[in-house]
């Protein structure tokens, strides 16, 4: 079961987000920064999208710039988009929004589940977020300002946490977050992570043959697969896990693997990649 571990990792990241400014208030500077860019000791880690934009906007590639993006890229190459599924604070908010939505739907309409996603085709969803990433980067290069930072959801969440702890205030970007969460609650569940998020889009590009992914042991699991399609039901990204386990949208959250646990036999979903 991966669910509890994933929740623990997400909650841990959320707590760390609030812990960093508290530590800094006590003048402990081992951990500094927000999820735009963070320092753990002397190891500098930055969001690859932020670095990409800085390279385009400033028109130069320097060693400190490029080295800051190395760690997230290495993580993505090894484990896929675990940043999104297991750590991202905004993803946790979206999970909570989706859960709340499911609760209200069950009470008001009487239907279970979080409801249908705004765009069902994984190809359209991918095209949307890559288009947003390319347009944003091009615009950043054109005007010399990293504009995608204005809509970097995890960065804004952690910045708000930092401001809240340090100054007991919220900045204007909180409005952006509130609009996103309200939209996810009402009209378009999961729309930001699936259709827009530039960080997720860039991270999903880094994958190799050995990158961790979801798959079944049967090459074409048409008949052997469970007919209830529980994996498809639970997938937050709207993927058919038995077929699209290696899609760029997959965040390796492991929900489909958990849902598949009751199915016995060789067709079970499991994490593969460098393990096999």
């Amino acid at each position: 079961m991966y669910g509890p571990y994933r929740r623990a990792a997400q909650t841990g990241t959320f707590i760390v987000m609030f812990l960093i400014p508290v530590l800094n208030l006590y003048e402990i500077y081992t951990l500094t920064g927000t999820f735009y860019a963070i320092n753990i000791g002397r190891l500098g880690i930055a969001d690859p999208v932020v670095i990409l934009q800085a390279i385009f906007a400033a028109g130069e590639l320097s060693v400190p710039l490029a080295s800051a993006a190395l760690f997230p890229v290495a993580l993505a190459l090894a484990f896929g988009r675990v940043w999104c599924g297991w750590m991202c604070p905004y993803h946790l908010l979206a999970d909570v929004a989706s859960w709340t939505r499911g609760l209200f739907r069950a009470k008001i309409i009487g239907k279970t589940g979080a409801g249908s996603l705004p765009v069902t085709s994984s190809f359209t969803a991918n095209a949307g977020r890559f288009g947003f990433l390319v347009l944003g980067t091009a615009f950043a290069g054109a005007i010399g300002i990293p504009v995608l930072n204005y809509v970097n959801a995890p960065g804004i969440v952690s910045t708000e946490a930092m401001i809240f702890v340090k100054e007991r205030a919220l900045s204007i970007e909180f409005v952006f977050l509130a609009v996103l969460v309200i939209l996810e609650l009402t009209l378009a569940p999961r729309f930001w992570c699936r259709l827009f998020c530039p960080t997720g889009a860039l991270l999903s590009l880094f994958r190799m043959r050995v990158t961790l992914r979801v798959a079944t042991t049967i090459p074409t699991p048409r008949s052997a697969c469970c007919r209830e399609k529980r994996c498809t039901e639970v997938c937050p990204m709207g993927l058919e896990a038995f077929r699209e386990g290696s899609d760029l949208l997959c965040t390796n959250c492991g929900r489909c693997v958990d849902a598949c646990a009751s199915v016995q036999g060789p067709g079970r979903l499991r994490f593969t990649g460098f393990r096999t």
Partner: protein, 259 residues
């Protein structure tokens, strides 16, 4: 495309957008900042400088194109030049190699002699008026609090403060200056555009000034008086032979009784 880029850069960087006034006195980038244009490109708004500042001097910019970037507002809290923020910047928007406080260039302080108590005292304007502002005293607080005394500021004749070239613009003098509501010593930010380029009204004033001076230089005819006449006279050179003076009346060749 390059025209569009230029237009957008003009709007965002040179303060030519009437809604955005990029140039503001007493609003500085943290120490070690590169010039404003590169700073806006490189700063990723991670707010690490803000977190590490032990004095709480660095504040986050509010709504506008610079949202999220760090600023120092010396009227509230000046920079105390501990240089903790520079070495933490991940992208080089703040110079990582900078260690010495006297090498920073955040701006330059400027003393407003019509407000400064010491300068007022010097001008024998010591009588308190009804507003209570013009008290005039040997205050010299700016000199006493300056971390770079005698490099950045000195006491001329041991009486009144004068800013020197070594001023780095930390703004401690602005923070401590006792005059209210406006401080007598203000910091002009470096690398942040100029006052005459900032905002719609500044530009309008500059154009007005330029057009007025252009007319004056183009048509030197007319009667000159006062300082302008002196200036005209000072331009006359004595090394290139005699200037031509034409007189409206005839000079007599010969005068009776003078030989």
């Amino acid at each position: 495309m390059s025209g569009l880029k230029e237009f957008i850069q003009r709007v965002f960087f040179h303060g030519e957008n009437p809604l955005v006034d990029n140039y503001v006195e007493n609003r500085l980038r943290p120490p070690g900042a590169v010039d404003e244009r590169r700073f806006m490109a490189l700063c990723i708004r991670c707010n690490r400088c803000l977190e590490v500042c032990p004095y709480g001097s660095i504040k986050r910019a509010g709504i506008g194109p610079t949202i999220g970037t760090p600023y120092v507002f010396p009227e509230n809290k000046a920079c105390y030049l501990c240089m903790a923020c520079c070495r933490l910047c991940p992208t080089g928007a703040l110079d990582r190699e900078l260690r010495k406080p006297e090498q920073t260039a955040m701006g330059k302080a400027r003393i407003d002699t019509t407000l400064c108590y010491s300068h007022l005292f010097l001008g024998h304007d010591v009588l308190p008026d009804t507003s209570g502002r013009k008290i005039g005293a040997l205050c010299n607080t700016c000199y006493n609090v300056c971390p770079l005394q005698e490099k950045a500021i000195t006491l001329e004749k041991n009486l009144y403060p004068v800013i020197l070239d070594g001023c780095v613009g930390c703004g401690i003098c602005t923070e401590r200056c006792p005059t209210r509501p406006r401080r007598a010593v203000n910091v002009i930010p470096a690398g942040m555009g100029r006052a005459d380029e900032a905002g719609f009204y500044f530009r309008k004033a500059r154009k007005h000034y330029e057009s007025s001076t252009a007319i004056e230089t183009k048509t030197p005819s007319g009667v000159l008086k006062g300082e302008k006449l002196l200036e005209q006279k000072s331009r006359i050179e004595g090394t290139r032979g005699e200037p031509d003076f034409s007189f409206p009346y005839e000079t007599p060749k010969k005068m009776e009784g003078w030989e």
